[in-house]
Symmetry: C2
Subunit: 302 residues, 2 copies
């Protein structure tokens, strides 16, 4: 799915946008205040969030392959937040970036299909069709099994997009369930999830050798990468956890076994908050940090 843009930009870096209205870039706050006529705090905050995301996208688009939007951060702003999610998606797509909605959704049959409409498609109504967010991909939770993912795979595929299935997350508690050993195989729950990814992704393997069903594999568990790559030879790995959470780009080589687009490195605070560590203008610091990460990843994947 994202192979084209990875090649065009020579980059595997995905800018993570988890906007906190209390920690936006100062210029975004100033832009949002200028000419704002809304009295509703949610509308104002959503404006500021869009301004912040736009600045961050403009600063880094040339060295990034895509953006990952943390949906929770938009939902907490209410209806204007949902509109902002759509606006930011459009801004990123206009810049040629691949847009991943980090929604971690998962539900059964018609509810899964409804999430597919919300993120990838549209909803027919007696009043006319309602367009969804228009994302290229979304993160999904596989706890409900393969049949719960099928409507989302279909919705993504119709659009030429894809999914990233949670296989091994970055948090310490990931071990509670994902690392449990199974009686039948002595492998872990994560290993079984990886097999499901391969199964549902098989019809979506393209000429690049990569499937439209990828996997979220935390950069905080590099010791698991080889085994997971073996079980998912065609999946694009979305790799969060570099930087603040302790992961390191140089430990991620196994992700790139199928080629340069085999791994996408998602970094949020490391890029957006770079100016807090280095000083200077937020946009410039973000561009420099994204460029540095791109160089490291591109070299590693070569």
């Amino acid at each position: 799915m994202a192979a084209g843009v990875v090649a065009v930009r020579s980059s595997q870096v995905v800018l993570g946008l988890d906007p906190d209205p209390a920690r936006l870039w100062p210029r975004a706050l100033a832009l949002a205040h200028d000419g704002a006529s809304e009295s509703d705090p949610a509308a104002k905050a959503a404006r500021a969030v869009v301004a912040h995301c736009r600045l961050a996208i403009e600063a880094t688009a040339e060295v990034c392959a895509g953006v990952k939007l943390q949906v929770a951060c938009f939902e907490r702003l209410g209806a204007p937040g949902w509109a902002a999610l759509r606006d930011v998606t459009e801004i990123a797509r206009e810049r040629g970036l691949f847009v991943i909605a980090d929604a971690k959704r998962g539900d059964i049959d018609i509810s899964a299909a409804a999430y597919g409409q919300a993120f990838f498609g549209e909803t027919e109504t007696p009043f006319g069709p309602i367009p969804g967010i228009g994302a290229d991909a979304m993160t999904v939770n596989p706890l409900l099994g393969a049949d719960s993912l099928a409507p989302l795979v279909s919705a993504a595929r119709r659009r030429g997009g894809g999914l990233f299935v949670l296989v091994r997350t970055t948090n310490p508690g990931a071990a509670d369930v994902q690392e449990l050993r199974l009686a039948a195989s002595q492998a872990s729950v994560s290993d079984r999830l990886a097999e499901i990814v391969t199964e549902i992704g098989a019809p979506g393997v393209g000429p690049s050798g990569l499937s439209d069903v990828g996997a979220v594999v935390g950069a905080t568990a590099p010791h698991r990468l080889d085994a997971l790559r073996e079980r998912m030879p065609h999946a694009i790995f979305l790799l969060p956890g570099v930087g603040a959470q302790g992961g390191n780009v140089r430990d991620l080589k196994a992700a790139f076994a199928p080629g340069p687009a085999g791994g996408l490195i998602a970094v949020s605070r490391g890029i957006i908050g770079a100016y807090e560590r280095t000083g200077g203008e937020p946009a410039r610091a973000a561009a420099e940090e994204a460029g540095r990460l791109r160089e490291m990843a591109w070299t590693l994947a070569a």
Copy 2:
């Protein structure tokens, strides 16, 4: 959490609202058309959805303990859908109903906290606080482990609300992951999830003997009920899957072991679509079906 309203209404029935704009009650469509000045299809559809949910709530509130709102169905209507989710929550709470946001969210640390703000709390911004949906409870996905649920437990607890953790879902594919046998215990993944529910719910067990951390246990797998109740003695079971999905109220007795509020029976299409089977007015058919389910469940639980 819901013990009070179960006692007051003598009901364990939860009205499931999964509104599809193409299948609303005819009167809701008529109400939405009257005086509608919006030209935006999403705004019109959201108006119709709110009208539909209001009619369904008014028809059944006296015989129900709560409502379960399928968040996917609101999200697909865009920003007006998100506003509708909040409106319907308020309508249901005004009628004394317990509101469960069926969101199946699950994410790590600050993202989980952001979902807590969106559904239970509010979000501080430089422009003032933004209120969330105001739900009493939400469904959550435990694949990311206990630490991912902690911020949501805290957010719910601050509000006197609670969570329903997915333990055994209703769909056939539930077996793919939830019924895998574990090497250490020979129990299943669901059994382990049940233990996590009991662990994180322990500090929230109230004088009723019920915890503020409940579990989603599908009525389609009654053979699992006894074992799951044993592992979760204090959890309220949210039981979807009665009716269209094949579950039967009379198989659910084990859910009520801790008392009448030990189980909540969530029925969507069975109540909302009752008129399609019996003929007659949708509101009256819904009230009759909800009343019938209430009688069955109340007798079973006694």
